[in-house]
Symmetry: C2
DNA sequence: TAGATTGTTAATCGATTAACAATC
DNA sequence: TAGATTGTTAATCGATTAACAATC
């Protein structure tokens, strides 16, 4: 456990790290052994200095002239994000999005392992989705406590989001990945990350709108 | 068409606008008529000045003492994001996530209207998902051109993302909402917005990891 | 060696926050 | 009026980018 593990990286850096990772996987598949910040920057349209600063947070040292060993860099980034360890998670809300999340095998590669899903729909309770059992939401707090679950994914309709989030907190969950388009009011020690699709949609909507107004090309 | 419609807002502002909108809907339901930047800021844990600056972009003027009329503010934000107009869109990739998107009626409220879905899977081609027909991806360019589709949603596996994105561009699509975890290389005049879940996951993963390391509470 | 790249310090840029007169 | 809020200018903060010596 080195000192740097205690250093907190800025959010923009955290958001870029997975992008590096995806590129590194691709480069490794292509048989490359080393990679420079220059190359990463060019591929991802970033500044090389920025790439180096980001990478510094992961505590890996590069070599002048050659850059960074790809394998080491992958390991370092994964360790930094704790994606090399599996985090057991609960998911609440088995609608369209929730089911999609459960079916998304890729999350396992990112250290996220769904162990149970929760819903209020009696039709769904008792069934399985991709081998994950769907349980009544009432059972969430007790089970979370007993299984020491710290990570919750919230994919319920917005009007229930606050209520279900509080149930998660009651179960000792410390990090909530919130897909509902609303602001959760929770104790300060609970980490909330809003994965709001509407935010992303707003950016592209406005940009396309501007393009149309301006008639640029 | 006022001058301000030509003013480009910073991305952080664009990302906050939908959050205001969700709050405003909730307040309107609660019977409120006016809202102050102070109130919005308190609810969303932001700075009141920041809220006022964001709102300024939408070209609405508030009144000292009372704030902004909620109804007007909603209309102004929706107009700014062009969510009051319906944008016809194609979606490519009808897997878990793509199907979830199609089933998500809420997008209609955000001006996004799926008119056709595309896939390579013969089992899926010819079927419908929530009344949206699934067609062969080969038909995308011609149809997009004829229907003048400008908006494409990309929910294909990452290894096909670049290829399918190019097909979209061939069809005259100018804005691509990319859900594949990879960097698309496209002409500069094509707007690409990466809705990468892994970026959001990285933020919460690291924060939870830090919490565990530090043992804070 | 020559040349490309790292690691790091300094400069720049842009967003956030503070301050405050004008307003209802 | 008194008091809360807007609109706006100035100050601060933090992230990005530039510059460059050290290194292989």
């Amino acid at each position: 456990m080195t000192a740097s593990q205690f250093k907190s990286a800025p959010e923009p850096t955290l958001r870029r790290l997975p992008r590096y990772l995806h590129l590194l996987f691709r480069l490794r598949e292509g048989g490359l052994e080393d990679v420079s910040s220059t190359l990463i920057a060019r591929e991802l349209k970033l500044d090389p200095t920025q790439v180096r600063k980001d990478i510094e947070y992961t505590d890996i040292v590069g070599r002048p002239k050659t850059g960074y060993p790809i394998e080491d860099l992958i390991i370092a980034i994964e360790a930094f994000l704790n994606w090399n360890n599996t985090e057991d998670a609960f998911i609440a809300g088995v609608g369209n999005l929730g089911s999609a999340m459960l079916g998304y095998q890729r999350f396992k590669k990112y250290g996220l392992n769904f162990v149970a899903a929760f819903d209020t729909d009696k039709q769904k309770i008792g069934t399985q989705i991709d081998t994950i059992p769907v349980l009544s939401i009432e059972k969430l707090p007790d089970l979370a406590n007993r299984m020491k679950i710290k990570f919750g994914v919230l994919t319920v309709p917005p009007q229930y989001a606050q209520f279900v989030a509080e149930i998660m907190v009651e179960g000792g969950i410390k990090a909530i990945w919130n897909f509902a388009p609303c602001q959760l009011k929770l104790p300060d020690d609970v980490i909330v990350e809003n994965a709001q699709l509407t935010q992303s949609l707003a950016v592209i909507s406005r940009k396309l709108h501007e393009k149309k107004i301006l008639g640029s090309d």
